[in-house]
């Protein structure tokens, strides 16, 4: 009896530790974002609740926060969309065609994605400036798609490989074209995988910092991570209140997407465990 109790207490301690460990930075961020004290990072006294930071982030034109948010959502959304489409087509052909050296292709793709970002950025900057694309959405979208594609492809290949080939055959017999098979059978059946990959791609593009730092110049195309990092006060001081408020708002799109797709993704995570 005592042993049982001890066990459950230990488990609870584990829970609490995990939750605190994961949520602490997040809570800290939220706390500062609603505090009026600029020296909060050093002193813990006179905490005063205020929405001032949010208000200034959302309304002051010079911060361009809304522009950054819009840029981020557009760039991430478009990148994720094309990433899923291209990876879907690739995964379908790799799992369904009798291609010689399929595994070689897959490993090559994986190898390409292993390059550190920093090793590419110099060339990428030169390339984009030659094209005159610096400070445009597509300067970010193309590298993002290329960067996320290998992982997306691998995830979707593993999903599509689980779908029996008899389904393709049945759909062909039922009169589908290859496009229709993909649209009406494969994508819906692999929906959890598709959703997971979309979200993953979106989050990646939303978080990405280095490409965005190098390939954008101002609020016309700069994304949130870079935007927030470059927030500056009038005299060069670091406006922690604004940074934390901006960061908190930036979490919202990702959390929303996760909540919307949660059911589908959970299905995706547990799919292999359930028979049939």
């Amino acid at each position: 009896m005592i042993e049982e109790r001890f066990k459950s207490i230990l488990i609870w301690i584990g829970y609490v530790f995990m939750v605190v460990f994961c949520l602490m930075p997040f809570l800290y961020m939220m706390l500062i974002s609603v505090s009026s004290s600029p020296d909060f990072l050093t002193k813990l006294d006179n905490i005063e609740f205020t929405f001032k930071n949010y208000y200034s982030v959302l309304t002051s034109k010079s911060l361009h926060f809304i522009d950054y948010l819009r840029n981020s959502i557009i760039v991430s959304g478009v990148s994720a969309f094309f990433c899923v489409i291209i990876a879907g087509l690739g995964a379908y052909s790799i799992t369904r065609l009798a291609l010689p050296g399929k595994m070689l292709i897959l490993f090559f793709v994986l190898a390409v994605s292993m390059f550190p970002q920093i090793s590419l950025i110099g060339y990428l900057f030169k390339f984009m400036s030659t094209l005159g694309w610096i400070n445009t959405y597509h300067a970010l979208i193309f590298p993002y798609i290329a960067w996320i594609l290998p992982l997306s492809l691998w995830i979707l290949v593993s999903y599509f490989a689980q779908i029996p080939k008899d389904l393709d055959k049945a759909a062909l017999i039922d009169g589908c074209t290859r496009w229709q098979i993909l649209r009406k059978v494969i994508f819906p059946v692999a929906a959890p995988g598709i959703f997971s990959v979309s979200l993953l791609a979106f989050i990646f593009a939303f978080n990405e910092f280095m490409f965005a730092l190098m390939l954008t110049i101002d609020y016309h195309s700069r994304t949130i991570p870079v935007g927030i990092a470059l927030f500056q006060g009038l005299h060069g001081e670091i406006p922690w209140g604004n940074i934390m408020a901006g960061a908190t708002i930036a979490v919202i799109p990702v959390v929303l997407l996760t909540i919307i797709f949660q059911r589908n993704i959970m299905q995706g995570l547990t799919r292999g465990a359930i028979k049939g």
Binding site: P164, K169, L172, D174
Partner: protein, 372 residues
């Protein structure tokens, strides 16, 4: 619809060389016939079905549906399984897969409606057709479920419903019963046969189970290594198998085969079994004379071996090595000289190691050429 295969050949290429999956097959299936392709696994029967369905292109040869050429390697003709606008330029075949291949994300209703939706059938017609086949197959109460919630037998009915809902020219079945348990398989077999009779659709049925083939098929083609070994009605295959392969494949328990040399003495032919010489009936003389060598394979079915017969002329002595009760009958394994035989006999008391009299029904004996 009449189906005709002319010198149909399919070769697969792989790293390790090429495989002739279907080798120069000529075949005619009559309109409305229930035709079975029977063979061991890897004999090319599923490839043949895929070729007819339009899922594979032939390497050589032609496929005709009535007077329409649907696939030809030399004339560069290849019609797809089904086109969006149904009749003219497609085969309009339907297929039931061993795995059923139901769309897991769609309800039973949508699964059955799927081919109709693809061909842009009007909504009220879809509803009508689905209701009709669903009631035909007694799955009306399942229409709102997903395939994952169905039992094997129910899934199989849905797969059949999806296949017949659009009135195909030819109905292709690829081992549709092999995932069902034995009892369900037997009852479904009967239903399937009735359904085919009622619909009158030309049907090709692939199986490796000779019982299924015998009970379902109007005619059966026995395949081996991509070639047709024999085509005939179930009775023809049973009574007159052309070679030892067909002889052992058709019939259960399988036919006894043994190698002998035939001796000729005083106008009669004899074969040695054990330490006896058995005189063959004279009507076998023609067959024996046509043999290329005096060595041949003799085949006799277990039910044509009689144990302890009364008044037999040519009795052999055999030792029972094991006894298998099969319900109504007993299957005895008997050793006569060097040769082992299986014999089917009405249930009587036999013991292992008992010595019994054995008589062969020599009228029913089969003589085969030795093949290399």
């Amino acid at each position: 619809m009449k189906l005709r295969l002319v010198e149909l050949t399919k070769k697969f290429f792989s790293k390790h060389g090429s495989i002739l999956a279907v080798n120069n097959v000529n075949l005619e299936v009559n309109s409305g016939e229930f035709f079975v392709l029977l063979g061991p696994s890897g004999c090319g029967k599923t490839t043949m079905l895929n070729l007819i369905a339009g899922l594979e292109k032939p390497t050589r040869g032609e496929i005709w549906f009535d007077e329409t050429l649907v696939a030809s390697a030399s004339k560069k003709v290849f019609l797809p399984p089904k086109a969006r606008n149904v009749p003219p330029k497609a085969r309009n075949v339907a297929m039931v897969f061993q795995s059923y291949a139901l769309y897991p994300h769609l309800t039973v209703f949508e699964n059955i409606a799927f081919p109709l939706r693809i061909s842009r059938t009007k909504e009220h017609l879809i509803k009508e057709s689905v209701q009709k086949v669903a009631s035909m197959l007694a799955i009306l109460d399942l229409l709102n479920r997903k395939p994952g919630e169905l039992s094997g037998g129910q899934r199989q009915r849905v797969a059949i419903a999806r296949a017949i809902v659009r009135k195909p020219n030819i109905f292709l079945l690829d081992e549709p019963l092999s995932n069902l348990d034995a009892q369900l398989r037997a009852s479904t077999r009967g239903e399937l046969k009735n359904l085919q009779r009622n619909l009158g659709v030309t049907t090709l049925y692939v199986t490796h189970d000779q019982v299924e083939a015998m009970s379902l098929g109007d005619r059966i083609a026995v395949l081996k290594d991509g070639r047709i070994v024999q085509i005939g009605t179930p009775d023809e295959l049973y009574e007159n198998p052309v070679n030892p392969f067909v002889a052992t494949f058709i019939g259960s328990p399988p036919m006894n085969l043994f190698k002998v040399s035939i001796n000729y003495d005083k106008g009669s032919f004899f074969i040695p079994i054990g330490n006896m010489k058995i005189k063959l009936p004279n009507d076998k003389a023609g067959k024996i004379k046509s043999l290329k060598s005096k060595y041949c394979i003799i085949g006799i079915r277990p039910e044509h071996i009689y144990i302890n017969p009364s008044g037999a002329k040519q009795k052999l002595k055999g030792k029972i090595t094991s006894v298998e009760p099969l319900g109504k009958d007993l299957l005895l394994h008997i050793l006569i000289g060097e040769n082992k035989f299986a014999a089917l006999t009405p249930k009587m008391q036999f013991k292992e190691y008992e010595i019994v009299d054995v008589e062969f029904n020599l009228e029913k004996i089969h003589i085969f050429e030795i093949q290399d």
